[in-house]
């Protein structure tokens, strides 16, 4: 049936739709000084985004995508099954408790209660959010404002700086630095924070420091001593600590994830952020959480109730089940929290070996699912890329690599401030939580690198 006639026959809409077309043309041509319709100041300059830029470039199906950080391996089967079942339960399709579905906050308090060795109140000390991202946002909006300074360690997950800015505060950056000296293999442990340099960044305006361990993109897993240095400064200057620990389970042999909130004096001033997406390889579920003391969490809850109110119910119910299942298995090889790390360690080692063979220098990560690669030794001439003249070397390199080699990565200077660009512009970031066929394809490209 002709669409126009069909619409006109739908009595609900017949009256107004018939007359629109003639008058519409008149008004739109007359148009509109929309001069007052400018956006708010808080979103100024926030529209640029490395993901939006590089994801579309990498979307070409012929490109092997080791760029954006999501698995192309399936999540554990029980998690998909549980979700399909949850959707069949009536109540699971309607609103649940705003600050977190009861079964989920209870499961979180059990898991983290065990890990932190403390009682965690599921209703007052936990907030469920839309991904780790949503937790970061609720934290910034709830606790940070104009006049505050927030210390951010470079390289940082790229949203930290714009979120601090959107909250009206000033980001204060400090880079991780590579320990001097020649070595056979570089690992993320060779990158460190200079304690004196860090100390110099704290002042009376410092509201918080953001740490990310395991770190994205380097993969550094902060040691207890390193965290103690940060904790001492937080206590000395009475600042808060926002600890992004979304990759907390992805720790490789010989290393341990330490929660800064468990250090003396830190529970009362720390928000710890976690992610179902990274925990269960379901980034598309967009569920995360903030854990901390009631006097901080309550402000994040206020933000939540004024931003999106509640998270999807069936997803929360399912994550709760996944957490409880693995809580029972903790310490055993079947526990997904450790079995995923084991699987990824193999992929990490394979990736590193291929890169070394080809003459690139990988930074072996202690945790997480990314690997930095130093491309200096390739000596790739990019002077022909005139359109991107003022872009950093790694941006140009990645664009060139996607186009010429059909391999996608992410430029690391996306994760640092202007002053540190020179220090990081020879690095690109590869994601290795990919199935074997993807890694095979990447290997083929890398092995053929020097051939035209």
């Amino acid at each position: 049936m002709n669409i126009a006639r069909h619409v006109l026959n739908c009595t609900k809409f017949a009256r107004h739709s018939a007359n629109i077309n003639c008058t519409r043309k008149f008004y739109t041509s007359q148009h509109l000084k929309m001069s007052r319709h400018t956006h708010s100041k808080r979103i100024a300059g926030l529209d640029k985004n490395v993901w939006v830029a590089f994801t579309s470039l990498a979307a070409d199906p012929s490109v092997v995508n080791l760029g954006q950080g999501f698995p192309d391996i399936p999540p554990p089967f029980y998690v998909k099954e549980a979700l399909a079942k949850a959707a069949c339960v009536d109540r699971m399709n309607q609103y649940t408790r705003g600050f977190g579905h009861p079964s989920l906050v209870k499961a979180l308090s059990q898991v983290y209660g065990k890990v932190c060795e403390r009682q965690i109140d599921p209703l007052k000390e936990i907030l469920v959010t839309v991904g780790g991202y949503g937790s970061l946002f609720s934290t910034m909006q709830g606790l940070v404002e104009e006049g505050d300074e927030v210390i951010i360690i470079e390289p940082f997950f790229d949203c930290y700086v714009p979120m601090v800015r959107m909250a009206g505060a000033k980001p204060v950056l400090i880079p991780l630095r590579l320990k001097p000296g020649k070595r056979q293999t570089i690992t993320s442990a060779d990158w460190f924070l200079d304690p004196d340099e860090l100390s110099s960044k704290f002042n009376s305006k410092t509201k918080a420091i953001i740490i990310n361990t395991p770190n994205n993109p380097i993969g550094k897993v902060f040691t207890r001593d390193e965290l103690q240095v940060i904790a001492d400064l937080c206590i000395k200057h009475d600042t808060l600590c926002f600890s992004d620990e979304v990759y907390e389970w992805l720790i490789y042999r010989g290393h341990h994830h330490i929660k800064i909130a468990t250090l003396p004096g830190m529970w009362d001033r720390t928000i710890t952020i976690g992610s179902a997406g990274k925990t269960f390889s379901v980034t598309g579920w967009k569920l995360g959480w903030s854990v901390g003391p009631e006097h901080l969490i309550k402000h994040l809850q206020t933000v939540m109730q004024n931003t999106l109110y509640t998270c999807p119910t069936p997803l929360q119910a399912t994550v709760a089940q996944g957490l409880l299942l693995n809580f029972e298995l903790m310490g055993q090889p079947e526990c997904y929290f450790s079995s995923l790390a084991e699987e990824l360690e193999g992929k990490r080692d394979r990736m590193a070996a291929i890169l070394q063979e080809v003459g690139m220098t990988p930074v072996i990560p202690e945790g997480g699912y990314f690997m930095l690669v130093d491309v200096t030794s390739l000596n790739q001439d990019l002077s022909h890329m005139v359109d991107d003249d003022d872009a950093a070397y790694d941006y140009k390199f990645v664009k060139w690599m996607i186009k010429e080699k059909k391999l996608a990565a992410i430029p690391v200077t996306a994760f640092v401030g202007d002053e540190s660009k020179k220090q990081f512009e020879k690095y690109i970031r590869l994601c290795f939580i990919k199935q074997d066929s993807t890694l095979d394809a990447a290997e083929a490209i890398l092995k053929n690198w020097s051939k035209i």
């Binding site: 739908c10 956006h39 708010s40 808080r42 391996i73 598309g284 931003t307 999106l308 997803l315």
Partner: protein, 416 residues
């Protein structure tokens, strides 16, 4: 820790009527006609679509496009272009959000600066006020007022905006007006002539219009939902907000959208990418399939958009006559999920709530003493006008017959 911890933007926005009353209803195990969600399931075709999505390939469980899953933005723009009479670009003119709630949040964050004024028509869905406040804006209120007293049962259509009163509230700092049609809690469905009056003012004063249309399919007695964005000159300045939760009776999925001219939507996109980045993939895919199916059967008796309002109209009528029979005066809603009733003929004796407004007292008493939960309507009014409107309580009738029967039993035993 010493000193002030929280940001000023959270001052004064921490109280929340839902948190308070949902807890109370749960504590007393009350028959819950309070919070607005169905206690029946979503339609089969949409539940099946969700299961299918969940069992889809691995990409169904990983990040999707930031501004909305491609299949969803395409099906939304296809569906609504036909209704609005304007070609909607799926990638420029549509933003998918975590429920309509987050679409509202993005709209205020993206467009309201400190000192901007936003006109809110009362009674209003309670989140508009704290969201405007959190964005640093100033809320300016204009109430819908009942036309005249009379013996006949009032209808939501009898509550109107005074053009003079509305006009008098506009200043050089007025950035936008927020309307909600069908309205929560009153149920008013704005007529074309009423929307035209608002549109004329928007154009004259170069204001934006945020139109919350989450209940767009739920109109009764032949009332027609009109989209203000479809009026001449309004597409370019209107943000129309919709909800999969209300459309498909799946409020727990939290999928919503904002639609409008790309020039305006692009700012909401920036706010969105800063706050959640993107929305859950599988639920978006299921909603996309839901809209594809409705596109094919639109206007036919098979359409859920016809079946749901038909079913709800019966429930509305049943509850309304029960309320009348016990001396509560209902105001018949032309649309939406709710019916409000005048409680003036009842007096509550509970000293613990003496300081609270009459409707809050009545609702609390009814939960504790009668086991029936509702929501006080003055929660949907500004502080300056709430005293004029504290004699109404709100019932949600989007419930299974068994729930409504249980509520009716309680009401019939009132006088005892």
């Amino acid at each position: 820790m010493s000193g002030r911890l929280h940001a000023h933007r959270t001052d004064g926005v921490d109280k929340n009527v839902w948190v308070e009353f949902t807890k109370l209803a749960a504590d007393y195990k009350a028959v819950n006609l309070g919070q607005g969600f169905p206690d029946f399931s979503p339609p089969k075709f949409v539940q099946e679509a969700f299961c299918k999505a969940v069992n889809g390939g691995p990409l169904m469980h990983q990040y999707t496009r930031v501004y909305g899953h491609p299949s969803l933005v395409k099906s939304l723009s296809k569906f609504f272009s036909r209704i609005v009479g304007h070609e909607i670009d799926p990638f420029e003119d549509v933003l998918v959000t975590v429920g309509a709630y987050q679409a509202l949040f993005c709209a205020f964050q993206a467009l309201v600066d400190k000192g901007d004024e936003v006109i809110i028509v009362e009674p209003f869905f309670d989140c508009y006020q704290p969201m405007v406040k959190m964005a640093g804006g100033k809320a300016v209120y204009v109430p819908l007022r009942p036309k005249a007293e009379g013996d006949t049962v009032e209808s939501s259509g009898d509550w109107v905006l005074s053009p003079e009163e509305l006009s008098s509230k506009i200043t050089s700092r007025t950035k936008a007006i927020v309307i909600n049609t069908p309205n929560n809690p009153l149920g008013k469905v704005y007529k074309t002539v009423e929307l035209q009056m608002i549109a004329d003012l928007c154009i004259k004063h170069d204001m934006l219009c945020i139109s919350d249309e989450v209940y767009e399919w739920l109109t009764y007695d032949g009332a027609q939902h009109v989209k203000i964005a479809s009026l001449p000159g309004m597409w370019e300045r209107t943000i129309t907000i919709g909800s999969a939760g209300k459309t498909f009776s799946a409020t727990g999925w939290k999928v919503g959208w904002a639609m409008g001219s790309g020039n305006v939507i692009k700012h909401l996109k920036a706010a969105h990418q800063m706050s959640v980045f993107d929305c859950a993939t599988a639920a978006q895919e299921a909603v996309a399939q839901g809209f594809e199916r409705e596109y094919e059967v639109f206007g036919t008796p098979e359409s859920y958009f016809q079946q749901l309002p038909a079913m709800l109209q019966h429930k509305r009528n049943k509850l309304a006559s029960c309320l009348q029979s016990v001396g509560l005066q209902p105001i018949m809603p032309e649309g939406g999920y709710f019916i409000i009733a005048d409680i003036s003929s009842f007096k509550v004796n509970d000293q613990s709530t003496e300081d609270e407004p009459d409707d809050f007292r009545f609702v609390k008493w009814m939960i504790k003493e009668k086991g029936l939960a509702t929501i006080p309507v003055s929660a949907f009014y500004s502080p300056e006008h709430s005293k004029e409107f504290n004699k109404y309580i709100r019932f949600c009738f989007v419930k299974e017959d068994s729930t409504l029967d249980a509520a009716e039993d309680i009401l019939r035993n009132f006088s005892q």
